[in-house]
Symmetry: C2
Subunit: 351 residues, 2 copies
C-alpha cells in the first residue's frame, strides 16, 4: 500500500483515474498512435492534459494527434480552432484542424444541425485516425453527458435500447476497425473543470452551452438541478441505471441475433428478393427478442434504421402473428415488409 | 360502423374505454364478485362510477364490493371513510371500511409511512376479496401514476426491473390467487377528473397530494410540468417506455428462471442447507440473466429481497467468477452466500 502510494505520488488523481480506465479498456500504452478529439471545452481539454501528464510521467508513450473540427456554425469557430491548435502544440502534440459545412450537410440530409454536426465530426475523426494509422479515437464524454443523454432519450420515449448508456469502447461507426474510446464516463464534469484549473489551463466556453433553445442545455441547467433536489447523486444514479439498461439491451440483442439467424430462409437463387424470414419461427419468439430481430433484419436490408419507430416494428409483428397472408407494412423510407406464404419478405424502395 | 356507434351511443367514452380494457384483461362480466378499492379521489371514484355506468347499461352484472381503508394518518380520515361509504351505497354497492394503525406498523417494521400504508392497504384488500369470494381487486391507477412511479424509480437509480411499468393484471401478492387489476393505466388523470365532473360527483382531495414534502407530489407538481416543456406528451412517452422496459424485464426474468433451474444442484439429504447452485453453470451465463437468477434464488431462500441491492448481486457475481473458494458475501438481513467446492450456498440468518 505504502509503496504503491509512493509510486503514484506525483500523478494527479485525475491522471490516475484516467490511467486505470486506460488499462481496463486495454488501450495501447506505447508504440502506437491515438487521436484525441478536442473541442477546447473543459472535458476534452482535461482529457488531453491528463494524457500529457501520463506521457510526461512515463506512463504513456504514444504518438498523440489532436483533432478538432471547425463546424463553421459560429462566428468564433475559427478562433476556437486556433485556440485548440495552440493548446495542442504547447503540450507537444500534433494537431489536425478540419472544416465542415454543417449547414449544407443538414440541408442535404434533412438532419437537424446537431445531428449533422455530429455526423461530420465523427467522419472527420475517423478519417484523421485512418490517415495517421491510429486505431483509437478518444473523446471527453463525462458522466454528466451520460446522464443528460439518458434524460433526453427518456423524454422522447425511447425503448431500453435507446436508454442504454454510451459504451466506453465501440467501433466509431458500424463495422469500422477504428474504436471510439470514452475514458471519462465515470468522471463528473466538475472534475474535468477542477483539473483544468489546477493545471492552470484556460478552456473555451461554448456560448451554445448557455442557449436555452437547446434541449440539452435545458436538461443541464433546469432538469438535472431539479432532480438533484430528489437525489443529490442523481447523475451517478442515472449513469448506473443507463449502464444496467445497456447490459440488458446487449443481452436481448444477442438473443435477437440468434433468433434472426435461425429464422433466415436460404434464398431461392431464381429470385432477386432479399433474405426472407420464416414467419413460424418468428411467431414463437417473445416480443422483446422478436422486435430487436426485426430491427436488425431491416437494418441489414435497408442499410439503416433512421425514422424506424417502435410502431413500425409492432405493425410487422401484427403482420406475422395474424392469420391472413399477403399483407404488407410500409416502412418510413419507402421500403416494404410483405408476408407471403409463411415468409416475411423485405422489398427495397426501388423494387 | 354506424351500427356499433348506435349501440354504444349511450355509453360515455370513459365507460367504453373501461369496458374495452375489461375485455382485454378477460375479467368476468357476470355471475361473479369483484372488489373495487376506492380512496374517494378522482381516479378510484371514476373507476367506480364507470363500473356503475356499465352495470346500469347491462354490460356488467357483477356483485361489486367497495373497499376503503382508513389509514388513520390524518384528522379527516374518518370523514373520508364516511364519504366513500355514502358514495358506494348511493351507487347501490356494498361497502367495507377497514381501519389500520399505519404508524404502529411502520414503527414495528422499520418501513416508512408510505410503505407501511401501502402494505396495510393491500393486505386489507386481499382479506376483503377473500372474505367476499372475489378473485379480482380493481384499483384506479392511471397513466399519470405510471409516469410518476417511473420517474421516482429512475431517480433512485433503479435497474430495468424497477423501472418497468406497473402491470395491468398481477397477483395481489406473490403466489396469491387473487388478482390486482388496474384498468385505468391507459387513462390520463385529467380524464378521470372530467368524468367525475360530468357525472356531477364530488370527489375527495387529499391534502397530502399538495404536501411538497412527499417526493411523489413534487414529481407531479414540479418535475412533470418541467418535462412537459420538452415533450407535451411526456406522460404518454414515459408510460410507453415503462411498458417496453417491463417486457424486456419479463423476458430476462424468464431466461433467469431457466438458468436457475439448470443451476440447481439436487440437495444432499444428509445436509440441512438450502438448495445450492452450480458455480460453473452460473459463471457461463450473461450478467443480466445471472443477476436476475441470483435475485430469484435469494428471494426463494430468504422469502423476500428487501434491502437487497445491485451491489450485493455484483458481490455474489464476483464471488462466483473469482478463482479462490471458501469466500462469503453478507446480505443485508444477516443471511450469507458462500462459495464452497464449486457450489454457491445460501445460509439463512439463524444458521
Amino acid at each position: 500500500m505504502e509503496r504503491r502510494h509512493y509510486k503514484n505520488v506525483r500523478l494527479s488523481q485525475f491522471a490516475r483515474h484516467l490511467m486505470a480506465e486506460w488499462r481496463r479498456l486495454k488501450l495501447p500504452t506505447s508504440n502506437d498512435s491515438i487521436v484525441v478529439a478536442v473541442s477546447g471545452g473543459a472535458d476534452s481539454t482535461a482529457l488531453l492534459l491528463g494524457i500529457e501528464e501520463l506521457s510526461a510521467k512515463g506512463k504513456l508513450s504514444l504518438h498523440v494527434r489532436v483533432a478538432h473540427l471547425d463546424h463553421g456554425l459560429r462566428a468564433a469557430s475559427r478562433k476556437d480552432a486556433k485556440f485548440v491548435k495552440t493548446l495542442g502544440q504547447e503540450l507537444g502534440f500534433e494537431v489536425t484542424v478540419g472544416r465542415a459545412d454543417v449547414k449544407e450537410r443538414a440541408q442535404k440530409t434533412g438532419d437537424n444541425l446537431e445531428q449533422a454536426a455530429r455526423r461530420e465530426r465523427y467522419q472527420f475523426l475517423e478519417r484523421t485516425a485512418r490517415r495517421k494509422g491510429a486505431r483509437y479515437v478518444l473523446t471527453g464524454h463525462t458522466m454528466d453527458d451520460q446522464a443528460e443523454t439518458v434524460l433526453l432519450r427518456l423524454m422522447r420515449g425511447s425503448s431500453s435500447l435507446g436508454l442504454g448508456a454510451m459504451e466506453a469502447l465501440r467501433p466509431i461507426h458500424k463495422g469500422s476497425d477504428i474504436q471510439l474510446a470514452r475514458l471519462l464516463l465515470d468522471v463528473r464534469r466538475s472534475e474535468t473543470e477542477d483539473y483544468c484549473r489546477r493545471r492552470k489551463t484556460a478552456v473555451l466556453t461554448d456560448e451554445m452551452n448557455e442557449d436555452q433553445r437547446f434541449a440539452r442545455v435545458r436538461v443541464r441547467t433546469q432538469l438535472l438541478p431539479l432532480m438533484h433536489s430528489f437525489n443529490n447523486r442523481i447523475v451517478e444514479a442515472l449513469s448506473r441505471t443507463a449502464g444496467l439498461l445497456r447490459e440488458d439491451s446487449d443481452e436481448l440483442i444477442e438473443r435477437a441475433t440468434d433468433l434472426l439467424l435461425s429464422a433466415i430462409i436460404p434464398p431461392d437463387k431464381s429470385q432477386t428478393e432479399l433474405t426472407p424470414l420464416d414467419v413460424n419461427i418468428l411467431a414463437k419468439a417473445s416480443s422483446p427478442v422478436r422486435r430487436r430481430a426485426l430491427r436488425l433484419w431491416i437494418s441489414e436490408n435497408q442499410g439503416h434504421t433512421r425514422r424506424l419507430e417502435m410502431a413500425h416494428l409492432k405493425a410487422v409483428e401484427r403482420l406475422l402473428l395474424g392469420n391472413s397472408g399477403g399483407r404488407v407494412v410500409e416502412l418510413p423510407d419507402g421500403a416494404k415488409v410483405r408476408r407471403r406464404q409463411g415468409r416475411l419478405e423485405f422489398e427495397a424502395e426501388n423494387d
